[in-house]
Every structure is written in C-alpha cells, then in structure tokens.
Symmetry: D2
Subunit: 414 residues, 4 copies
C-alpha cells in the first residue's frame, strides 16, 4: 500500500499534485530526475540547470517541484535507491549523504514502477530487458499491451490523486522506424495496432498512443522517431493534448547550435565539422549497436546545414568507452575559411555528465507542457525547440533564436 504511505507524507498543495510518468524510469536519467527533484525541493542543492528557475523565465506559476509525483515503466526490474546509489558509486553526480536523506521518498516512488514493453525495440534493448518484459511483450497483442499501459496510467492518477499526468520518454534509443502512409492518420495507426503489426510500430509508439488517448501530454526526450508519428500528432490535436520531441539537446549538439550561428553571421565558411562522442553508460552500450546509433546520429548531424545555409562536410561518431560511465566527452573539430580563403580552426572538448545535463530539461519540459495544457494548447509545442536536437515542426536550429522564441512565448502569456 505504498500509495497510502505517500498520502500521509505529501501535503496536497493548493494547485494539487502533478504526475510525471517516465518511460525508462529505472535508467540513469530518470533516477537523476527523480532524486534530483527531491534534493532541490528539500533545499539540499541549488536549482542550477533548471531553466524555469531563472529570473528570465519565472513568474508563470509553474508546477512546484514538491508537487511532482513520479511513476513510470521500465523493462528491467530496478530499485530506485539502488540505481541512485550506483550513480553515486560510478560518477558521484548524486552525492551519498544527501541521497540518504531522500531514501524514503525514492522508496515511495518505487511503488509506482510498472513493467514496460520491448516490442520491436531492436536487439540492443532486448538484451538489457528482463525475461519477464520480453515474454510479456511477445505474448500480449499490441492491443492488449496498449490497454495495460493505459490502465497503469489511470491507476497512477487515481491512486495518487493527481490533477494531471505528463508522460516523458527517456528510454534507450530505438532503431529508426520507416514511416509511411499507414502512420499518417489516427485511423491508420489504429489499424496497425488492431492487426498486431509488430514490424510497423515500436514500443515508444504504444506508450505515446496510450498517453495521448488518455489525454496526457507526451514528451519524447529520446531520438526514437516511432513515438511521434503524424498519426500521433493528429490525435494529439484532436484530444487537446500538447506533445513535443525529439531527442533532448544536452551536450555536443547544444554547443554546436550555440556556435554555428557565430560562423554564419561572421560569413566564416565552415568547411568541415567533425564531432566525436565517447561515452560509457547503458545509453552508450545501446548506441554501440549500429541500428540504434543511426537514429541518434541523424538528429545530431542535420542541424549544421540548416543553421549555416549551405552543405558542408560533417561527421558524427559515437563510440562506447566503458571506463567513462556517464561522463560523456566530445571532441569537435571545426575547420573554417575566413578572409582571403584562409583556413583556421576551432576545436572544443566537452566533458559533461549526460544525465546531469538532461535531468533539469525534463523538469522544464514537464512544467512547460503542464503550462501549455493549462492554457488549452494542443499539438506540437514549437516553443520547446531549444530543448531538442530535432524539434518537430521547427526549422530553426540556432540555439539563441530558439531561446528567444521560448521567452517570447512566455511573455505573450504573462
């Protein structure tokens, strides 16, 4: 009866509690989101990294951090506290002593973890899934799985007494899904589910469908494109649900989108932009699989031509380096011509922790999706472009312009 236990602990605020349902709840990013929210809410660490806590973006009545209640799906049986403890051991990003102070909160949210699906996610993800998850994904029809996901969501809302739920996908990258006219309309997609066509959909397609049909906003922080097909977007409009994706912009691509405009405006011609990423966490392991890596690289590599306005030589590599754990390192080499066609270069080395960079963005997007839904907005949220490597429906990749769009969007709703 963990739900009861919770009720005794959290005081219902005036606005009511908001559920955050995370696909991939047992992974490093979700653990960092959940543990981090408790640490910030308790004042044990500052709110660094959360954009909606800056002066420029505040004063909009966003959901309070201690009103957030977490739950989610995962394909591995995980213990949230153990997962957080493992992070402490490997990267020290979650410090041990504060972690011990929030252990009981993690145990409460633990009760909201449900078994997920690995339908057509590729071998790399199946390899890390539990036998039970795999059996479940194989034996139930797509329609049955969809129903189960929806039931999990409803149960979460009612048990926890939540005013609303936001669903966020932070699961490992699926291989890209070839979209065709069957994914073009809600009716088409429903037929695929009804026909149990497992080649035409992936796990993320089901999660997103379940969320949207249930009336919950959906955010795709993963590169996986199967979660927000045209059919999903149309359903979201119809259901009055805000959605956005794909692929959180956290590290190397963030820097790319901050620097590339400088070259453009200065009329410095970028000849070559090579990017080499090395990382060692579970995400890195999944990306070592070529099929899954393909999805990731395509979102990382396209933005340069769009910002600069001309074709150039680019290359993005992602290599698995176990010793790094979650401490991702990227080396970018930018070769550019200036006046008199003279070639010069800029190199950068980025050393960041992916989960630490991504977690506050998840919180921002949850708040902003809640904000949009509260104003009756539905469909894509282009104002969130600055959070994504591949912002759906948005051509602007210049980080600064994307940020300005977000600030303008909010200003107009002040």
């Amino acid at each position: 009866m963990p739900a009861k236990k919770r009720k005794s602990k959290t005081k219902p605020s005036a606005r009511g509690k908001l559920g955050v349902w995370i696909i991939g709840m047992g992974g490093g990013l979700a653990t960092t989101v959940i543990a981090g929210t408790q640490l910030v809410a308790k004042g044990l660490v500052p709110a660094t990294g959360i954009m909606t806590e800056t002066e420029a973006l505040s004063g909009f009545g966003f959901a309070a951090l201690d009103d957030l209640v977490f739950g989610g799906h995962d394909v591995r049986p995980v213990d949230l506290y153990e997962s957080a403890y493992e992070i402490y051991r490997e990267t020290s990003t979650i410090p041990l002593e504060p972690l011990q102070e929030i252990r009981s909160e993690l145990e409460v949210f633990q009760a909201n973890l449900r078994l997920g699906t690995v339908v057509n996610c590729g071998d790399a993800i199946s390899k890390i899934a539990s036998r039970k998850a795999k059996t479940h994904s194989k034996q139930l029809t797509l329609a049955e799985q969809l129903k189960a996901i929806k039931a999990d969501l409803k149960d979460f809302q009612s048990r926890e007494g939540l005013r609303d739920v936001i669903v966020v996908n932070v699961a490992s990258t699926e291989p890209p899904l070839e979209l065709d006219k069957r994914h073009a309309t809600p009716a088409g997609l429903k037929r695929l589910i009804a026909a149990d066509d497992r080649k035409a959909l992936r796990a993320s397609s089901l999660y997103a469908w379940a969320a949207i049909e249930s009336g919950y906003a959906y955010l795709n922080f993963a590169p996986s494109n199967a979660g927000l097909t045209p059919a999903h977007l149309k359903l979201a409009l119809k259901k009055g649900v805000p959605v956005m994706g794909n692929d959180g912009k956290t590290g190397e691509t963030l820097v790319k989108s901050a620097l590339a405009p400088m070259f453009k405006h200065r009329n410095l011609k970028v000849e070559t932009w090579q990017g080499y990423n090395i990382l060692g966490d579970r995400d890195g392991e999944v990306l070592a699989d070529d099929a899954n890596k393909k999805a990731k690289i395509s979102t990382k590599d396209g933005l340069l031509e769009q910002i600069l306005g001309y074709p150039l030589h680019t290359h993005v590599a992602i290599d698995y380096v176990p010793s790094l754990n979650d401490l991702k390192t990227a080396w970018d080499f930018i070769h550019f011509s200036g006046f008199l066609n003279y070639k010069m270069s800029l190199q950068f080395t980025w050393q960041g922790c992916d989960a630490i960079l991504a977690a506050p963005l998840v919180l921002d997007m949850v708040r902003l999706a809640d904000f949009a839904k509260g104003r009756g907005e539905a469909g894509l949220m282009p104002q969130l472009a600055c959070y994504f490597k591949n912002p759906l429906g948005v051509d602007e990749h210049d980080l600064h312009r994307q940020y300005d769009k977000l600030a303008e969007y909010l200003d107009q709703r002040r």
Copy 2:
C-alpha cells in the same frame, strides 16, 4: 606624382570614391585590409569574412570595394608591397601569386602613406617607431601635430577626389589613459591641446580629434581608450560625425560572447572562465609590455560578468610567442556547475590569424559608418556593437543579440 598615376587607373564610379585613412597603415592588419580589398575586388578570392557581403546584410547600397581608396599614417617607414610579401613569407595568409597581380595597386596606395605621431604611446610603441617619428612627436607641439594630421587628411581627400573619408585606428595598443573631467568636454580637451599637456593625451586622441574636427567618421579598432573620450563623443555629435569603438572582436572574445549566453540560458553556473592567448606578431610584442597589455585585457575580460549576470572567477592572459607570428592560438577552460551542483567543463582551442579575422570587419565598419553618415546619423553607432570587445555606450555583450541589433538597424533603413 603618384596621385596622378592613380587617376589614370581608377575609373570614378557613379557614387564616387571613398577614402579609408588607416592609423597604422604599415602594420599587418592594414596591409591585409588593403591587399585583401584588391584581391576580392578583382575576384581573385571570394568575399568570405565580410559580413556586409552576406545575403542577410546586403541590398543597402554599401560602398563598392573598388571605390575604396586607401591612405594612412604610420610611425615606421614601410613599403606596402614589402609588408604584404613579409606576410606571405611568415603566415602565407596573403598568397604569393595573387599578390604579384595587385602589386601596382599597392604601389599607388603607398603614395598616400604619411608619417604619424607617437605622443605618449608608451615605450613599447616608441621602440618600434622610426627616429624621425619620435623626433617629430617630440619637437612639434600638440597643436602643431594636430594641424599636420588635419592637413594630411584634407590633402588625401582633395588629391584623390574623394566624396568622403573614414578614419580607422588599427595601430598598436596604447596604455590606458586615466580620464577625468578635463576629457569631459570639447572645450576641456582643446585646453589640453593648447597647453601642450602631453601626459593628458595620447597619439590616438589627436588622430581622432583631427578626424572629427575635419568632419570624418572615426572608428577605433584598437583597445586604446584615449581616442574616444567623452570630449570626442560630444564633438562628434556637434559635428554630425558617426564614431565607434573600442577594440575589434575577432577571436577568443568572439567565441566567448557566442558561448556565454548558452550557459546563461541553460542556467548552468559558470564558476571559472580562464583564457590563455598566445601570439607572435608585432601586436604581441607590444602587448608583452605590461602597460599596453592592461588596456587589452580589460576589454577582453569584462564581458562575461555582463552576459552572465553574476560575478565569476575569470582570468585572461596574453603571452608573446614569436614562433606563432600572426597565428594566434587561444585556449579557454570553462568550469561550470549543472544540476545537483555537479561540475563539468568545456575547453576550446581557437587557432586563427588575427589580421585575417580583423580585416573584413574593418571593411564592414567602413561601409556601415559611411552608410550612417549618409543618413545624417552622428555620435556613437550602437548598431556596430557586434564588432567590438568593448562597444561604447552598449551594455549588451551577447553576440547573437548584438547581431540581431545590426540586422534590425538595417531593416529599419531598407
């Protein structure tokens, strides 16, 4: 009679020729500006690096490159072709064969070189000046020197049949000048000149005063603060002359102003920003002198706090490395905290040629100053902020916002 020789060579265009008078005409930057303009105008190299040649900033009828006629002051006797040849030998930024094709143009402009002054420029600059320049600076009163400069400018315009002249200071960095109320008004500054008070002014004060009194726009591409005192700004307003400074934003500081907003917007707290610059040209030699370096560092270091909005640990070093010649290398180490106060880092290594980066900006500013004057605008040109490390009268250091300001300014005058 080189002026005559010129007339036979350049066909007066419809709009008429525009004079560009460069303080420091014999240096590497001026040589690159002059030779580069010829190479681009002749189609021997593309217009890379010139912002006013991009689609976004074009269509405003800026002065044509082959309408620009160059002249200037220098404190060393220099031969423009020899100077360009030396650049080819040291850095290959000016390629040899195209250089030979523009030799005659350089010889024509050579005739417009006049002897400059080193009044109160500090030992480092005096050391590289000719004996004649030093004698001249010592024996003539400030008033006499001012008169000589004005005569040189007038003679340039009349001999060359120029519709107007723009004066640009690209001379070596002077030590900073302590400003007080004597520099606050035109009357005060005139008294300093009349009293021949050599401690209270520097060479650049005289050049700028001569330009503004003559009705010519003045651009201070050097960090030297003595050239645009409050007295100069007031005189510029009175005379209807546009002016702007200080210190061209070409390399490390450019990257700083492009990257710092990313940290700010993402609420990533920059703890430390260390910048190490190494360079080996004459500019580097002058900056090896502590007094002169002080001026430079102060313009390079201040912008971070202004962009980020909080105090942080910063450090800027400039060291002289003769083997590099003009190929400046900068290493910046940025230490920042993210979510859960976790520290991460970004390092970059910038390898650029200072003259190559600066030269097209000089051409842009000449065009934009000519444009502003043509519209009757006078005093500071805040729209040029993106070109300066320390844009006078402007608090905005975010490169992207500065660029947007320039684009807006032009759009409003389309």
Copy 3:
C-alpha cells in the same frame, strides 16, 4: 594515551615497523598518503600508481605498507579524518565508504601530529598557519625550535617502537632562498642557527637539519630549496643518511619529460613550449603568491633546454582557480619545426589530481630511501631522479633514462 592504543592494534611484523614523518601532515597530499596506505594495505583498493608494486621493480623486500606508521608536523591544527572527509567532499578521490572503514587507523595516527614552524616561510604560508604556530615560531630561537623538532622525532620513534624513521617534506612551497657560502658547510649552517639568523634559513632548513642530525633519511617533495643546501648534503654524507629532492614530478612536468625526448630524437626543433597550469587547492592558493610561485616555476621550466640541448621559448604559468580544488588541469602548447622548416604543433590537456598522483610517489621514495639506508648508502640518491622535477645532482631529465637508471640501480642490488 594513543600510542598504547596503537600497540594493541598493529602486530609488529618480522622486520619491524617503519616511521614516516611528514612535514605538512595535515595537508591534502599527506592525508592521501596516509589514508591511501591504509586502503591499499587493507585491500580496499588496488596498488595502482605505486611503482614499487610493479613487477619490474619488485622482489627487493621493500617495507610492507602495513608496517608504515605515520606522524608529522603541521602549522595548522588538523584532524586527519576531517581532512580526508573534506577531500571526499571536494574531489571524491577518497571514497566515503572505504574511508569510514579506516577511520580508527586515522585516529591513531592523529595522535602523532605535532605543531610545526613557519620561520621565514613567507606571508602566503603564514596566512594559513595557526596563531599558535606563528607565536611559537616567533618566540623560540632557531636553536630551540631545532631542538623541539628533534625531540618530536625521537619521541615518535620510541613511543611507536620503530626500527627507523624517514622524514618527508610535502609542505607548501616556500619562497626560494638565496644560497651563499654560509650555507656551504655544516659549520656555516650551525653558525646561522646559533646566531638565530632568521633571514638566512627557512622552516624547511630546520626540519631537514633535525632529520639528518638525528640520522633519519630526508626527502624533499616540495620545490623549496632551503631544505637541502650544500651544508645539508655534506652533513648527510657525514651522518650516513640518504637524502633527495627537489619537487615531486607528478603532472605536466612528467608529461614534458616523457615527450621532449621524442622531439629531440626525431630532430624536430621545438620552437616554443608554453605550459599553463590551473589548480585550486591550498597549494594553488600559496602559489598565487608571487614569491612562492617563483620557486615552483623555476623547477618546472628548466628541464626542456636540458633535454633538448638548445635554448627555446618556454613559459610556465600557474594560476589559482578555486573551483578546481585539487583537480589540476594543464594545457601545453608545443610548436615545433620539422622537415623544410615547416611548423606543426602538439597540444595536450592533462587533467589529474595532484594528491593522487603524488601520494604513491611518496610511498615509493620512502621505501627506496629505507632500502638505500639499509645498504649503507648516504648522501644524494640519484637513482630517484625520475621522482623529481629538479633532481639534485642529476643532469638527466629524460624520464625514460631516469627510469632506466632506477631499474639498473635496483638490478645491481638484487
């Protein structure tokens, strides 16, 4: 009665216990040495970093790690466990849970901490010393202080029942001491002490003198040159005591001495070697003082010319960056000419923790000094050259040749 408590805990091994007396016992390096020795001895971490634990250098019967008993002087009142805990908090180099397992050992060694002297150490060190240490240094004569140090050492040996003691100086860098003929002989140095000439000696001179007169080997891991003057070396020979210094070679200089021979052998001419070091611990704070920094830089910068065999442009900067704590970062830029005089470059960025790099070297040197003394060797130990930036009496700075010398030395004594 902490000494008693110890006896009950440590079982005297066949060879007997060896005392390690550390000048600067409360600092980060000493804490890492002491805590690390316990962690390795208990098998909680591997022996990585200790050269005398490699196959190539083993089999010589070096002192066992759990036979080492620690004591020392410090000028601040410190608690060893607190100091280790602070290291865990700041850099996580000492992990928390294993630290808790060795808490009792640290408390035992804590009882061996004695108050040190700050005689003529410069303002930067005085600033971090306790009032008591400063008063003590001021009120006692040099002769009295020397006597007190000797008494501390004797008491340590007898209380702990040690077969011998090795004294190691890891205290903060003192300003360089100008040596003259008064420091040339033991008699001269005795006169300085007798005359209480506080300008002519520094704290490290007294510590070393006390150790050598007591018959204990002395190792100077600090750059401070006042601890091993010619007088000290002569006394060491006379007393049959091995000594060595100066300045442990741990990071940037280590890489320099590994890389420079490559350029020499390949006949690649190094034009420039710029080295920029940033660090943030107490050592960095002391080095922010120009007088103290001078000693450090002189040992870091000299070796290149000696390895390469020709003069070159070099520069070493050390800057204090508090946010880094003990995580030192160094950027080196090496500009070299190859065939046809063509210039190329190598840059490296070293990111290491100084204490982690230095601590195992301290253990190696303690063992090797014990080994040498056991064979009746006295005076300088040139075989330890690979451990020092400025190995006294040794001209060879090529790391690989230094290592070969150590291996040969041991082989001859197998």
Copy 4:
C-alpha cells in the same frame, strides 16, 4: 635523353651516387622527399627532421644528400614539378620561391619515372590509377610485370651510373593480404607468380620481389603487408639484401609510443586509449575505403597492449576530411586510473603534415639500409624499429627503447 643531361650536372662524388627508387614516386610523400632533399642539399632549408643529421647519430659516413639520385614507379602520370607546385598551393609546406630554384633538378629526376602496376591493390587505388596502368596490370602476366620492374631498376642503375639502389615503397595502402604457407618460402612465392595467381599477391609483392632478386635493399614505408612476406624475408637473407617494414611511424602512433611507457612505468593503469585521426590527402581518400583502412588501423592499434603489458579498451578511427589536405589532425583521449583507483585523463591534439613528418624518415632509412648493406648485413633490420608502426621481427614498441637500440647498433659499428 634526360639521363645525359643529368651527367653533365651532377659531379660524381668520391663514394659514387646512390639510387633511390620510390614506389609511388608521384605522390605527396615522394615529391616531398625528392624536392626536400634538393632544398636541404642546396642549403635553402636546414636539415631539421633528419635523424641521421643529429650529432648523436652522425660520423658514420652516411650517403651524402647530393649523391642521391631519384627514380621510381607510379600508377598515375605525374609531373614532379607540378606535384610540388600543387603541394605549395594546398599546404605551403614546399615554399614557392625555393621550389623555383630546384625546378631543373626535379625535371631531371622526372625522366626516371616509370609506369607501375595496380595488380590486386583494391578498388580505391585502381580508382586513382591511369587507364594505361590498369590495362598494363591486367594484360601482362605477373611474371611479365615482374620482369618489367626488374628491367626498370637495372636500367636506372646503369643509365645513372649508380653504385647501388635502395627501393622504398611509399605507395597508398593496399588491403591486407591473408598470408598462408604458399607465402612461406621463396619457392612457394615463385610458384604463385608462375601460376599468375593474382588473388594471392598484390602489387607490392612484385615490387619487393623484383628489388630483392635484383640485390637491392627494400624498405616498406606503407602499411601494406603483402610486400614483406616470409618468402621475401628468406629471399633477402639468401641474396644478402637488408629489408625492413612496415608502416612509417610519423604522427599519432609516434606520440603513443612516446607516452605509453610513462603510464607503464608510473603504474598508472590505462583504461581507455581512443585515437581519432582526420586527414584529407590522397592517402586519406584511399583510407576512406574500408578494406584499405583495415591494414592501417591494425598497425596503429596493436602497440599499446604490447607496451603496457595488459589488455585495454582502444579504438582508432581514420576519417577523410578533404579540407585538411595533408595537414593531419589527431585527437587522442587517454583515460587512466591512478592511486585509489581514481580516474584521470590526458588528451592530446597533434597537428602535423604527414609528408613533412615522413620524408626525413625515408632519407634516414635509405642511408641506414645503405650503411647496413655496406657492412654485409642482410635480412630484417631491427635497428630501424623506431621508424615503423609495426617493425617486423621486433616486439619492442617503446619509442625510447627503440631509439636506444638504433644508437647502440651504430655505436657498435663506429
């Protein structure tokens, strides 16, 4: 009659002229070797980069640079002066004005260029070969081609009046050849040639066989393993011919072999060594082909485990970046554990010109092979290990030990 023309120009020295026959004579490396030798011999540039010109390795009567006469094979019709001029244009490594002073020498050597073979070299090389070379390779049997190569070599020696010839392979990398027992003996290899078995041999097998059968020393500077099979080595011993390979150690691997011993000796455990190479010349284009790249990477990657003595995570990437031309850039990331298992890192960025780094090594090896043959030495030359990424018959990869071996070898023959 170019040979005649030569005779009138070069004065036969006392020792006589030495022929250097280069496989790949029209490529960037060969051009740099040939032009560079003239420039150094004429005193137009210093001898930087040539190890046999250092004091440590001199005094052995090595062949004089102006006694070297060049000839060679290529699969493209090339003009040596044009090739050198193109290098000037693209990278400025060969300066224009000195190039013009040696134009006549290049024209003389031009007459010694002969058409080569592309037998079984892979698609990437065929693509850059001339139609004539491809036809020739296809229509002639292996035996006929071998005979033609031998005739070219003999003709070179007699026409030019050379005391001996050294053959050096610097052609583009061939795909690796699977060796089996047919390549184990001279008889076996002869059978393959007689049977015209084009799958079992590659172009480099024929060149090397021709050289050795003709009694000429053979040096394999390329990674291609088909040129020095066990059969070749046995024939070399029988014929009294010195040979050595494979793959010149010029850049990233050179630094690896200089740095890895530091980690080994310090007992710092290297967890990961990632190496990323980007380059843009013809060599880079050929290496963009996966089959050819395989040969290269295998020689670059193996040495770490051999130096360190334990398995570790390594990765070597080579990517084609056209804008770089021959200016190769490599970024290496080394992740290592130190004391207390704490992880630290070293990164380096190497920016060098491959041809400039390799050319002087070719001259060194020619001299040293000539020296060895003069002393009656035959078969592999392990003393040349420091020049090769994969030195045949040598297990030692530590650069410093390799260098010491060369110095010892020479000292024993002084």
